[in-house]
């Protein structure tokens, strides 16, 4: 999932302090699972903003809404009828949802209520860790299902580097060395032969360096 983290309430107040009709807009997908932008977090943030305005002696309306997703036209259309009433929208979907909302509601300021962090997993409740950087040419088949692009600090494809120590990465003892994990896993699935081969130069043109990316599929287009 896309993992996001809440922005401090103080920062969000800065964005909207001069508006008097605000919509806090959540998303039912990834950000709900990582407890940063779902219905509950919408309720908490909206409540905080209402208290802020009340304490300032200012009359402001802060409404709450949570859409199924903010990255699809059909769900974003659900606020078409009400969007114009608002002077500001605080979206607590991931950066994708925030932008799509802003694109769709061109004349209303849309502010981010979260920091979008990475693509990752819920290791345990309250702990999310990165697994993928969407490099666009997945090599997991050769690395035992462990991604050196996102999990090795140097993104090296023929690791480990000289800094790998007792299973930890040299940047921090708390971080497991991705290449140690790769070797252990290749051993477990009896594919150490893959480790013996030098990895060819990776095609990075599909990574972010090539500018914004798109996927176009004729087979599913209408």
């Amino acid at each position: 999932m896309i993992v996001a983290d809440k922005k401090p309430v103080e920062e969000i107040i800065e964005y909207v302090k001069d508006s008097s009709k605000i919509l806090v807009l959540g998303c039912n997908e990834c950000v709900t699972v990582c407890e940063a932008g779902g219905k509950k977090e919408v309720g908490v943030l909206a409540s905080a903003l209402r208290m802020y305005f009340a304490n300032q002696g200012k009359d402001a309306t802060v409404d709450e809404r949570t859409l199924e997703r903010q990255c699809d036209h059909e769900y974003l259309e659900e606020i078409r009828d009400i969007a114009d009433q608002y002077e500001a929208i605080v979206s607590i979907a991931c950066g994708v949802g925030i932008q799509f909302t802003a694109e769709k509601y061109h004349s209303i300021p849309v502010y981010p209520g979260v920091n979008t962090r990475f693509l990752g997993v819920t290791e345990q409740r309250g702990l999310w860790t990165e697994r993928c950087q969407a490099c666009g040419t997945c090599i997991l088949a050769y690395t035992g299902g462990i991604c050196p692009v996102s999990r090795c600090a140097k993104r090296i494809l023929n690791g480990p580097c000289g800094g790998s120590t007792k299973g930890s990465c040299e940047i921090n003892k708390e971080v497991p060395c991705a290449w140690q994990l790769i070797i252990d896993r290749l051993k477990a699935i009896d594919r150490l032969d893959l480790y013996e081969k030098l990895f060819p130069i990776k095609d990075w043109s599909t990574d972010r360096a090539g500018g914004p990316r798109k996927v176009e599929r004729e087979d599913v287009k209408i």
Binding site: E10, K40, A48, L49, M51, Y52, N55
Partner: protein, 120 residues
């Protein structure tokens, strides 16, 4: 034992303090409560294992939010006791009552009230 505690304290019963969410506390403050305190079982003695620890974390979160919006975070507190300890229950109630008296009424209470009247 017939003990009395301040009449300003209104009790909301929940099966476990772990049931109390950040949202419940914020809504109560928003609606004009002068203070909230959660009384849970002693730490390590929760029937559901972590209910009271979760409650403490949530109280801390609410305190942080109150600070952020410029309201006094001391209005929200967490207490722990063993369920049979009535004198301690009274002590906490008195302590909270004194704290709120010192702080004065919830600053947004008047607004919350007039909004309620408008809605009615």
């Amino acid at each position: 034992m017939r003990l009395t505690y301040p009449t300003s304290v209104k009790i909301v019963r929940v099966p476990c303090t772990g049931k109390v969410d950040v949202q419940h506390m914020l809504r109560a403050m928003e609606k004009g409560a002068d203070g909230i305190y959660i009384v849970g079982c002693k730490e390590g003695e929760c029937h559901y294992k972590y209910g009271n620890l979760r409650a403490r974390r949530r109280v801390e979160q609410v305190q942080k939010i109150l600070n952020a919006v410029g309201m006094q975070s001391e209005r929200v507190q967490m207490y722990n006791l063993s369920s049979s300890d009535a004198p301690l229950f009274v002590k906490y109630a008195e302590e909270m009552n004194d704290r709120i008296k010192k702080l004065g009424p919830n600053p947004i209470k008047a607004r919350a009230k007039s909004k309620d009247q408008q809605a009615a």
